[in-house]
């Protein structure tokens, strides 16, 4: 039930540098994912506390405010997390390596 071979969104997304898509429900339980269960679990167990902590931070600073989107950037890629009312979407992206020229 997890075959994404013909899925246009996933293939176009992978071509653009996207690596993984994980869909969670509002509590943070993984619903669907393009990577293996073990890897999904690794991502979710690291990113879910961070996401909820960031949400608490935002609400602590201003109680009427709420987080909608979070983007983490590192040396080799980016992770985007979108919070909706019913779902949380996590997208992992890898940067394409540029050719390094000797200076």
């Amino acid at each position: 039930n997890r075959s994404y071979d013909g899925d246009a969104f996933v293939t176009l997304f992978a071509r653009r540098g996207g690596k993984d898509v994980i869909i969670l429900d509002a509590d943070g339980t993984p619903l669907q994912s393009t990577c293996s269960t073990k890897r999904t679990f690794l991502y979710v167990s690291n990113l879910k506390p961070l996401l909820f902590m960031a949400r608490n931070v935002v609400r602590d600073l201003d109680p009427s405010n709420d987080i909608t989107f979070m983007r983490i950037r590192s040396d080799i890629g980016e992770i985007h997390m979108t919070i909706g009312t019913e779902f949380i979407l996590i997208i992992v992206q890898r940067f394409k390596r540029k050719a390094v020229t000797a200076s």
Binding site: N46, P49, L50, M53, S64, M70, I72, I76, G77
Partner: protein
Amino acid sequence: MSAEVEEMLKRLQNYKNIIGIVVIDNDGIPIKTTLEYTTTLHYAAVMHMLRQKASQAVLDLDGTNEFTLLRMRTLYHEVILCTQGDYFIVVLQSPCD
């Protein structure tokens, strides 16, 4: 060097979308800020914790990776947290839309 830093902060602050800038060192103490005092302390404490957590999360996911930037979009504004070795900078901006 300090004059350059001041000039850079002033230049950043003059963008019309920027609400405030806080520069925080690795212990969570704000070094430079454009917000008022109590707000700055609040931001420094909270962003310091968040930065530690994010750094740990990225490191756990991939041991060679290092987190450089964190961007949070909230209902009213956007918070950008950028790491730079000995310190990190938090910028608060209102989005263009």
